[in-house]
Every structure is written in C-alpha cells, then in structure tokens.
C-alpha cells in the first residue's frame, strides 16, 4: 500500500506577546512529531488537552505551516510557503474543524455550504450539485428541509454533522477530523462512524481522527498516536496500544475513563449517601 501521509519531525512554535524586536514568549505546541500513514488506513490521535493535536491537524491540512520538519503527501514534499495551496491539493485534503460553528459562514444557507465545494472543484451541473448536497444531508442524519436554514438555527451536534458533510462531499483522499463526533448522541455517532467506514471501504479514503473518546478510537483506528505536551509519547497499532499501553500518560487515560458498570454506579451512590448523612 502507498504511503499517503508522512510527517518527519514536525515542529510548531507560537510566539506570543512581545514586539517585532523580541520579547514575549514562545509556546512549543508541537515538538517534533513523525509518523507514516498508508492509504485506506485510519490514524487516531489522542492526547492531553493542549498537547498540540489541533495544531498538528492544521499543518497536515495545509492551513498552517510547520516551524520546522517535513510534510509529505503522496510521497511529495509539501511547502505551502513556496507553492501556496493549489486547487488539486484542496480537493485531496479536507478537514473537519474542532469548532464547527466558527468554520461556518453565518450568512450562508446550509444547502450552499454543501454545494460550494462542488461548484468550486467540479464541473457538475447545478441540478446534480443540489441532489448530491441533499443526499449528503440525509446521510449525516439531517433532513431535506434543513437545506435552506442558516447555521445558527441548528443544534451543536447538527452543526458538527454539517461540517462533516461539507468535508466528505468531495471524497477527499485524505481527511483530517478533529473531534468530529464529540457533540453527537451515541446513535447518530454510530451512523456517522458507519458512514466514514463505508466511504473508506468504497473509495480507499485515509483518515486522521482526533478524539478523546477511547471507545471510539478503539472502534475506528488502525494506528494510534498518543500526544502529551507537544510530543508523540506513544505510537503503534490499535491492538498493541489497547492491550499493552506503555507510556504512563496512556495508562492514566485508561485509568481515568469513566465507568458505566452497575457496580461502579452503586459504589458511587453509596459514597454520596454516606457523605450526605455524615
């Protein structure tokens, strides 16, 4: 299988405060991350809040440029500073942002949000664009009557699904999803995860999937990378990571995962009752 995405020692520093002449301080958001991802596979990234996952996602999708290190897509070194982002690259690489509302134009109706990528990147006739957009709306669990509504008229999870629909409508060969199902109920989440799996099977799409939910990661990932303070502290296959986590941070994640078994609930309720009567 061909390697679709390769990161070699990616670094991203942010300089905040200070002036042109210095001062301020530097945040080392990503401190040298490397990985390879093959076509049709899913890399899940988990990690501490603030560990550089979204920063990395922006570099992988050519929105932001690394401070240092090399990014290769389909074997070619990408340097957006030299070449800019071409239309071909845009078609190939898409992102679902962590904050869907911020990425939607408040004055654009949802139908147009979904049809725009088709208008810009294909020569599909208008009627077909409309049909494809309606079809996509239904696939993510929304209704045809949502077509003419504006972003503010949706719930958090509905907006998240609009962002997903917009990103997959062009069937990008590389899709980076930043917490794409965090606002969805379990049933809609299942529908979206199935849809992503269907697209991957049918078109060989490659996914980078950022998530805090380990049960989702366990379901969707082939490879897993664990980030902590800007570094990839553990990388490996899903099976290895779940059966034999090595890094203390990875272990602390498993230990802190909330437990929904009846015994744990009973124990917690008993403790609360005891505290209340004390």
């Amino acid at each position: 299988m061909a390697t679709v995405l390769e990161a070699k020692n990616l670094v991203r520093d942010y300089h905040i405060g200070g002036t042109l002449f210095g001062g301020g301080r530097t945040v080392h958001a990503v401190k040298g991350v490397s990985f390879k991802l093959e076509q049709g596979k899913t890399l899940a990234i988990v990690g501490e809040s603030g560990s550089g996952k979204s920063t990395l996602a922006r570099i992988l999708t050519l929105i932001d440029r690394q401070t240092d290190g090399e990014l290769l897509i389909d074997g070619e070194t990408i340097d957006i500073k030299k070449t800019g982002v071409t239309a071909a690259m845009r078609r190939k690489v898409q992102i679902v942002f962590q904050n869907p509302y911020g990425s939607l134009n408040p004055r654009q109706k949802i139908g147009n949000v979904l049809m725009e990528p088709l208008l810009l990147n294909t020569d599909m006739p208008a009627a077909e664009r409309r049909e494809r957009a309606l079809d996509m709306l239904v696939k993510v669990g929304l209704q045809p009557e949502h077509f003419n509504r504006y972003p503010h008229m949706f719930s958090g999870g509905q907006r998240q699904r609009i962002a997903i629909a917009r990103a997959i409508i062009l069937k990008p060969s590389l899709l980076v999803l930043d917490e794409p199902v965090s606002a969805l109920d379990l049933s809609v989440q299942a529908q979206i995860l199935n849809l992503l799996a269907d697209l991957q099977d049918e078109f060989g799409l490659t996914y980078v999937f950022i998530s805090h939910d380990l049960s989702v990661v366990k379901y969707i990932a082939d490879e897993v990378m664990v980030m902590y303070l800007g570094e990839a502290v553990e990388q490996g296959t899903r099976d290895k990571l779940f059966s034999n986590p090595e890094h203390p941070y990875t272990r602390s994640l498993f230990a802190a995962t909330p437990r929904a078994d009846v015994e744990s609930i009973k124990a917690r309720l008993a403790k609360k009752a005891a505290l209340a009567s004390a």
Binding site: I16, G17, R25, V46, E48, S49, G50, K53, S54, Q98, N99, Y101, G141, E145, N148, R149, H152, M153, F154, S155, G156, G157, Q158, E179, S182, A183, L184, D185, L186, S187, V188, Q189, A190, Q191, L193, N194, H212, D213, L214, S215, V216, K218, Y219, Y249, L253, A256, T257, P258, R259, A260, D261, V262, S264, I265, K266, R268, L269, K272, L275, A276
Partner: protein, 278 residues
C-alpha cells in the same frame, strides 16, 4: 420546594418555512446538591430548553411554561433587569460551544474578571487573584500567564475550561453544564467532574448536566432525563436507567455504544419512531 422547577415548557421558532416546535411540553426539576443528567438525541431540544430557563434565546423563539421557578422566584414574571442579576451569578451556564461564547477581542483574563466585577463588585486585585485561582482549579498550567491569552491562542479544551471557570466564578446555586467536557481528555475530564462534585458538596449547588457521554452520566448523575424529538422519553434514577431502561429509545441509545460493535459496523436506529415511557 425544588431549586429549579419547570412545568410544561414549550419552545417554538419562527422560521421562513413556518413554525418549528423544538421543545414540546417538558417538565424538569432539580434540587440543591442534586445532579440531573439530560441525555438524548442530537437536536432534541436539550440546549434550547436550558437556554429558555436562562432567558437567552433569540427573539425568533417563543417560550411558554405553566411554571418556571428558581429558588422560589418566578422567572416568568421577573423583569429582564432582575433576571440579569441572577443569570450568571446564582444560575450559571457552561455553554456547549465555548469558542462562540467567548469574545475573541478580549483576553480570557478580562472576560473572567468582568464576571467577578459585574456580579460581585470585586476590586482589581481581588479579581485578579480569584481569576488565577479559577484557572488553576480547571487545570490550566501557568494560570497567571494564561490570563493574558486571547481565545484563539488557546486550544479547544483550554477554552472550554475558561468557560467553566467563568460559570463557577460566583459559586452559583444552580449550574447548567451543556456538554462541559467534550473537548477534554479523560484525565482532565475527571479533574473537572471532581471539581463540580466538590462545589456541590461545599456550596450545595444543584447541577444539570447535558451530555452524550454515558460514562459521565454513570459517574455523576443522581437522576436522568432522556429526551427525543422535543419530548421527554423517560426519567429515572441513574441505577434504574442502566439496569432497567423503560423506553425503547433509551435501550436503542445504550445499544449504540461503540463497545457493542458487532462485525465492523455499529447498530443504528434511523427511521424508528419511539414512544415515550414516562
């Protein structure tokens, strides 16, 4: 007397294609020291119902209720000015989309301190000290330094924690938390949930927690309301909900946990219409 009591709440929106009923007659109550979890379908009116209690819906919304009292005060009869004195102080809300609730033009420190100034009239030094303490409580490293950051310089989960800090700043009697931990890894999620539970014990706070995370329900809730298409499908003690869910919707929802994957796809429930079992 309940801390919050809402009877027969309905909310409808005027849209260009007619009236949309988002909340269709829901009863909600919560007591001091109690945790009520609201779970349910994405788009089922969970956020809208709570925004109605806060009086924060846009003018296109029509709200009606037979009763809406907080701490014995009638919220429906209260003047807008009186309500503003309570909202944000005695009743606070952690909004679902932190990036859209924080003002991009001000530092997070300014925004936290503004709450303290407006509601508690604290002087500058006290405000600063309290803001540092709050950021520290929500697990943000270098809190004094971080107060100078703008929202776009923070990660998704860091902004979510700023929202949490603002909501708990005045030690509210009732906290409505709308998906408060979606952007947090499980170790920080645990820290936040422990903090909220501690505030409950120390100040007798009532907590309404809207969440899609079944583990969070199991680890925090006393009582659970399950919502679907603007209606309450079920209300039960937390143990009862997990051991003997009454409504078919609740059962279908729990069945969609990724851990229950059979083969390589997840069970979904699209196309089913569920009846309430209250």
């Amino acid at each position: 007397m309940h801390l919050l009591e809402v009877k027969n709440l309905t909310v409808s929106f005027d849209t260009s294609v007619g009236v949309f009923n988002a909340v269709k007659g829901i009863d909600i109550h919560v007591d001091a020291r109690e945790v009520l979890a609201i779970v349910g379908e994405s788009g089922s009116g969970k956020s809208v119902a709570m925004l109605a209690v806060m009086g924060l819906l846009p003018p296109t919304a029509t709200v009606s209720a037979d009763k809406m009292t907080f701490d014995g005060k009638d919220l429906l009869a209260m003047s807008a000015a009186d309500r503003r004195k309570i909202i944000g102080k005695d009743v606070a809300m952690i909004f679902q989309e932190p990036m859209t609730s924080l003002n991009p033009c001000f530092t997070v420190g300014f925004q936290i301190e503004e709450v303290l100034r407006f509601h508690l009239g604290m002087d500058k030094a006290k405000r600063r000290a309290r803001a540092v303490e709050l950021l520290d409580q929500v697990g943000i490293p270098n809190p004094a330094e971080r107060l100078k950051s703008y929202p776009h310089q923070m990660s998704g989960g860091q902004n979510q924690r700023v929202m949490i800090a603002m909501a708990i700043a005045c030690n509210p009697k009732l906290l409505i938390a709308d998906e408060p931990t979606t952007a947090l890894d499980v170790t920080i999620q645990k820290q936040i949930l422990d903090l909220l539970v501690r505030l409950q014990a120390e100040h007798g706070m009532g907590l309404i927690m809207i969440t899609h995370n079944i583990g969070v329900v199991a680890e925090t809730a006393d009582r659970v309301v399950v919502q679907y298409k603007g209606r309450k499908m079920e209300e039960a003690g937390v143990l009862e909900l997990f051991t003997a869910p009454k409504s078919s919707y609740t059962r279908a929802l729990l069945a969609a946990l990724p851990d229950n994957a059979t083969g390589d796809r997840l069970p979904t429930i699209t196309g089913t219409n569920f009846e309430e079992a209250v």
